[in-house]
Amino acid sequence: MTTTNSRLVRIWRRLPVVHHVRQSVGLQRGMLVAGLILTGIFLLTALFAPLLAPYGFSQLRDDDGTFGAQVPPGGQHILGTTVGGYDVLSRVIWGSRTAVLVIVVAVALSIFAGVLLGLVSGYLGSWLDRVLVVISDAVYAFPTLLLAIVAAIAISGGRSSFWGGVFAAAISITVVYIPQYFRVIRAETVRIKSEAYVESAKVLGASTPRIMFRHVFRNATRTLPLIFTLNSSEAILTLAGLGFLGFGIEPSAAAEWGYDLNKSISDVTSGIWWTSLFPGLAIVLVVLGITLVGESLNDLADPRLRTRRRADQSAPVLETSALHTVDLDDDESAIDPLEARS
C-alpha cells in the first residue's frame, strides 16, 4: 500500500508542470504559480461559459426589451453594453471559449505538421532538408499577421460562421507557426541522430521509421511544452489581431475579443471606455498567464537562468536524497534515453 502510494507520489512529482513548480524557488515559483492560476481561470471560464455568462454572446434583448447601445456599466449590465447593443460581460466570457478552441486547433495542427516535417527533414537530411529550411526561414522572417491575413482570405474569403471562423483563424495561425516547431524539432533531431543509442538501433537493424518515431521523436520533443505555451499566447494575439482587422468571426456566430476592440475604436474617442477596456484586459490577462507559465518553464530549463536554492535551504534536500525516494532538485534522469525507453 505504501509502495503504491510512494509510486503515485513519484509519478505525480514527475509530471511536467508539477515537477517545475517543485523545482522553482522564490520569485520564479511566484511567477509560475501566478501564470498557472491565470491560465486555470481562463480555461475554466471557457469551459463553463454558458453557466457564467448572464446573456448569450449575440443576445440583443431579454424579457424587458432591447439592451440598448453603449449603456454604461452597472445595474442589469455589470460591464455595460457595446455599440452594437451586446452585453460586454457576456461577450468577454464567451470570447474565452473562442480563444481556447482556436488555440487548441491551431497548436495541434502546427505541432503535428511541424514535428513531422522537422523529424523527416532533420533525420533524412539531403536536398529535402535544405529546401524545407529555406522555406521555413523565409516564412519565419515574414510578419506573422500579414501572412495570417493572406491565409484567412484564402480560407474563408474573409468572413464565416462559427466553426468556419474558428478553423480559418486556426489554420491561418498554423501556417505561420509551423516553421517554429519545424526549426526546434529539426535542430534536436540533427543533434540526436548522432547519439550512440541511435547508432546502436541502426546496427541492430531497426527500420528508419522506427528509429525516427521511437528513438529520435521521444527525445526530440522535450522542448515542446515550452514552445507550446509560448505559441499559444502568440496565437491569441494573432487571433485578436485578425479580429481587429475585421477577419474574425461574425458577432452573431461567436464572441471574439479582437472584433469587439475594433468596434470600440470610435467609442474611445467619445470617452466610452468599457467597450474596449474589458475585452482588452481579457486578452492581456490570458496572454500574461500563458506567457508567465512559458517563461518560467524556459528559465527552469536553462541552467544559466535558473534560480538556485540557497545553501541553508538545500540541507533537507540532502537528507531526503539519501533515502532514494524522490529527487527534489535536478531530475536529470528524465532526459536519459535509456530511462525514457523503459
Binding site: 529555406v134 523565409a138 516564412v139 493572406v150 482570405i153 474596449s276 492581456v284
Partner: protein, 364 residues
C-alpha cells in the same frame, strides 16, 4: 552516408552556397555575396506562397466587384485583365512584374501599388522609426537595471512589466493611451499624423520627403514640429513598448550571461564595482544580439504597424492595406504584402551585414 556522419553543427560548413565562393578570399565580401543571393529565394518563396493562397479563392475581379457588375461585364473585365488565362502563365507573368518593380494595380481605385509605397511608405517608416527609438530608450537601460538587480524586486517588477508589454496587443495599448492622454487628459491629439493645417503646409511644400518630422524641420516652423511630434507620441509609444519589452529581456539575459564570463570575473577580482561591471564590461557584448534582433523585429514592427495605423488613423501602408481588405481589393492586398516581403528581406540583409561588420564571429 550522411546519416552516420556525426552531425556537428559547424557554421563554416553548414550553409551550402559558401562552397561556390571559396575563390573570394575576403571573408566579409564572401559573406556579403552569399547573404545577398539568399534574398532571392526568400522573396521568391513568399511571393509564390502569397500568390497561391490569394488565387486559391478565384479571380480577384469577382471578389472585388462581384455584386456590382453583371455577369457579362465581369467576364469582360476578367478577360481584359488576363485572369482567364492558365494560372501558370499568370504566375510567371506576375514573377516577371515583381522583378521589374511592378507590384500590380489596385482594382478599386486603379492606383499602382508601387506608387502607394512612395505616398504611404514614408508614413510607415516614420512610425517604425519612432517605435524603434522608444524601444531602445526604454529597453536597453531597463535591461541593464534588471541584470544589475538580478532576482531582487526591481528585476521582478521589470520582468513582469516586460511580459505585460508583450501580452498587451498594440491596438489595445493604443486605445488605452488614446483614452487616457487624448480623451481624458486632452494633452495629446486623438489620431492622425498632424493637424489639418500643418498637414496642408507640409504637403504643399516643394519636394516633400513624406516623413513629416523632416519636412517640418525643413519648413523651419516650431509650431509644425511641435504638432508633428505631439501626434507621434502615442502611436510611437504603443508600437515601441512592445519591442522595448523584448529588448529589455534580451539585454538582461545577455548581461547576466556575460557577467559570468572570465574577463568579468578578472575585472571583479581587481576590485571593479558591480555597477561598473554592468555598465562598462558586460553590456557591450550584450548589445550585439540587439542588432540581430532589430532585424527580426522589423517583421514584428510591420505587423504591429498595420494594427497601430488602424488604431490611430495613421495613413501609412498598413492603414491602406486594411482599407483595401475592407474593399476586398485582393490585387492591392497581394501587392502590398509582397512589397512588404521585399522590404523585410532587404532590411534583414542590411541588418545582417551591419552585424557581420561589428562582430566577425557571425560571418559564416
Amino acid at each position: 552516408m550522411s546519416q552516420s556522419a556525426p552531425a556537428v553543427i559547424n557554421p563554416a560548413q553548414s550553409p551550402t552556397p559558401t562552397r561556390r565562393f571559396r575563390g573570394i578570399t575576403n571573408p566579409l565580401a564572401r559573406f556579403l555575396i552569399v547573404r545577398f543571393l539568399l534574398i532571392f529565394p526568400t522573396v521568391f518563396i513568399l511571393v509564390t506562397m502569397v500568390f497561391v493562397l490569394m488565387r486559391s479563392i478565384g479571380d480577384p475581379i469577382t471578389a472585388a466587384l462581384g455584386g456590382r457588375l453583371t455577369a457579362a461585364q465581369l467576364a469582360e473585365r476578367i478577360s481584359s485583365a488576363g485572369y482567364d488565362r492558365p494560372i501558370l502563365v499568370q504566375y510567371f507573368e506576375y514573377l516577371g512584374q515583381i522583378f521589374t518593380g511592378n507590384f500590380g494595380t489596385a482594382i478599386t481605385d486603379g492606383r499602382p501599388v508601387s506608387e502607394l509605397l512612395v505616398t504611404y511608405g514614408s508614413a510607415t517608416l516614420e512610425l517604425a522609426s519612432y517605435a524603434i527609438l522608444v524601444a531602445l530608450i526604454f529597453g536597453i537601460p531597463l535591461g541593464m537595471v534588471a541584470a544589475y538587480f538580478r532576482d531582487k524586486w526591481p528585476d521582478a517588477v521589470l520582468r513582469v512589466a516586460a511580459i505585460l508589454a508583450y501580452a498587451t496587443p498594440v491596438f489595445f495599448a493604443g486605445l488605452l493611451l488614446k483614452l487616457v492622454f487624448a480623451v481624458w487628459l486632452k494633452v495629446l491629439p486623438v489620431a492622425g499624423r498632424a493637424s489639418t493645417r500643418t498637414e496642408l503646409q507640409l504637403t504643399s511644400m516643394d519636394d516633400p520627403s513624406g516623413i513629416y518630422l523632416i519636412d517640418a524641420v525643413r519648413l523651419g516652423s516650431p509650431a509644425a514640429i511641435g504638432d508633428v511630434l505631439s501626434h507621434a507620441v502615442l502611436p510611437g509609444l504603443a508600437l515601441g513598448l512592445l519591442t522595448a519589452g523584448i529588448f529589455m529581456r534580451l539585454v538582461r539575459t545577455n548581461v547576466i550571461g556575460s557577467l559570468s564570463m572570465d574577463y568579468v570575473d578578472a575585472a571583479r577580482s581587481r576590485g571593479v564595482s558591480e555597477f561598473r561591471l554592468v555598465r562598462k564590461h558586460a553590456y557591450k557584448p550584450a548589445l550585439i544580439p540587439i542588432i540581430t534582433v532589430i532585424g527580426l523585429q522589423i517583421a514584428l514592427l510591420l505587423g504591429g504597424a498595420v494594427l497601430t495605423e488602424t488604431t490611430f488613423e495613421w495613413k501609412g501602408l498598413g492603414f491602406k492595406l486594411v482599407e483595401y481588405l475592407g474593399a476586398r481589393d485582393f490585387v492591392a492586398v497581394q501587392g502590398i504584402v509582397v512589397l512588404l516581403a521585399v522590404i523585410v528581406a532587404l532590411t534583414n540583409f542590411i541588418v545582417d551585414i551591419i552585424a557581420a561588420i561589428i562582430d566577425p564571429r557571425v560571418r559564416y
